[in-house]
């Protein structure tokens, strides 16, 4: 009985360590294929088209509505302290620093990450990956790496679109509908938002999130059990793990970037 329990603990620890090791190896492999992907950029381009262009609609519509809500809520709170003119600053800072990178990464995980996992999981279930290996084509190089780099390249673009559309949404609600002064809306924003400190760090954040979400999605698909249930479970795990790691990483990055 005791031995069984100990053996179980040992087995769980071993498989956990093996998982981490395997994930690290896959990650380094994906990174090392960067020059390869540059040489055959057509593959990456097709993935950017699939992951980026088709996510653009959901990203910009969500950005618009998040901007609307920020404009309304920000106005109600600021106006109590008689500083409604700082609305532009509030909307821009919260979008550029936090909401832009984080919310677009969460949407990206739901919109694009799941399709990556399902695609690769089904390729595995249909033994297409094994067939490629038989033909001496490395599936990591040919299938996974272009998807990974496509996702990484597309994420900052989507986050920037989200923030820009969100600021315009905040402007529509704040200036056009509520009637905050347009000059102070933009003026306060321009004096309070720093290009490197705020916009630059937002771009770094979205790059990190792009790496995280694409890697989690690809690994889940690559490791999925080659059955319909296995693919379904892998897709669910992609959303859960990608969202959790994005939020946790966001805290760490914010603490690193803005606490000094």
């Amino acid at each position: 009985m005791i031995f069984k329990g100990l053996a179980h603990i040992g087995w769980v620890t071993r498989s956990w360590l093996a998982d981490i090791g395997h994930a690290a190896r896959l990650f380094l492999q994906l990174l090392s294929f960067a020059p390869d992907c540059l040489r055959r950029f057509g593959l990456v381009r097709d993935q950017m088209h699939f992951l980026g262009n088709y996510s653009l609609a959901i990203i910009s519509v969500s950005g618009l509505f998040v901007g609307f809500v920020l404009g309304l809520q920000g106005y109600y709170t600021l106006q109590r302290y008689g500083s409604a003119s700082a609305l532009g600053l509030l909307v821009a800072l919260s979008l550029v620093r936090e909401l832009g990178p984080v919310v677009s990464a969460l949407l990206f995980a739901g919109r694009a990450g799941t399709s990556l996992t399902a695609e690769i999981g089904l390729m595995k279930a249909g033994e297409q990956l094994s067939a490629m290996e038989m033909m001496a084509i490395d599936p990591v190089r040919r299938i996974l790496a272009p998807r990974f780099w496509g996702g990484v390249l597309v994420m900052p673009i989507l986050a920037a679109v989200f923030s820009a559309v969100g600021i315009l949404g905040g402007w529509v609600v704040g200036v056009l509908m509520i009637g905050v002064d347009s000059g102070s809306f933009w003026g306060q924003m321009q004096s309070g938002v720093d290009v490197w400190q705020d916009v630059g760090n937002g771009v770094i954040k979205s790059l990190v999130f792009g790496i995280t979400v694409s890697f989690v999605a690809l690994r889940q698909g690559f490791e999925a059990q080659p059955t319909p249930e296995g693919v379904a479970r892998a897709t669910t795990r992609t959303v859960v793990m990608a969202s959790l790691s994005v939020l946790a990483l966001d805290f760490v990055l914010t603490a690193l970037m803005f606490s000094i």
Partner: protein, 158 residues
């Protein structure tokens, strides 16, 4: 490299992304307002700088003419040494005075220059003698209370 229809769409995506980044950098963060005008540095000693920070504005008649470059504590005179970079196109007389002011009731602090009357103008490395410290609320209140206590007793006690 073969071309495909996807090129156009990915190109469009990149253009939209670049436009968004430019919008964020120029419209919301005002990258272009970083001015690269030539400046000269002037320093001054203050008894108390209050909440003055690096990069705070130096204003004359309400117009920004420079920025605070450095703030140090001088261990000999126990005063704060403030180094300012003022745009070369603005010249001020040598006997100009500096004041630490606050924009609005709760706004941030800045340095105000009031021009003097002398012929000679401030040059690189000069020191401004006439300075006025930031107003510290606690000192103001204690002075007010002290003056109250020093006043003759209130009329009803007569």
């Amino acid at each position: 490299m073969q071309r495909s229809n996807n090129d156009i769409w990915v190109g469009l995506l990149v253009v939209i992304g670049t436009a968004a980044m430019l919008f964020l950098a120029l419209q919301s963060a005002n990258l272009l307002s970083l001015n690269f005008q030539p400046t000269y540095t002037v320093s001054a000693m203050f008894d108390n700088i209050g909440g003055l920070k690096k990069q705070a504005a130096v204003k004359s008649a309400g117009v920004v003419v420079g920025r605070v470059k450095e703030i140090k504590f001088d261990g000999k005179s126990y005063q704060a040494q403030v180094v300012m970079a003022i745009e070369t196109q603005h010249q001020f007389p040598k006997d100009s005075s500096l004041k630490i002011l606050t924009s609005g009731l709760l706004g941030e602090q800045y340095i105000g220059i009031e021009a003097g009357a002398e012929e000679k103008v401030l040059a690189e490395g000069d020191k401004v003698q006439d300075t006025q410290s930031a107003v510290v609320l606690e000192n103001l209140i204690s002075r007010f209370l002290y003056n109250k206590a020093a006043e003759p007793a209130a009329p009803e006690s007569k």
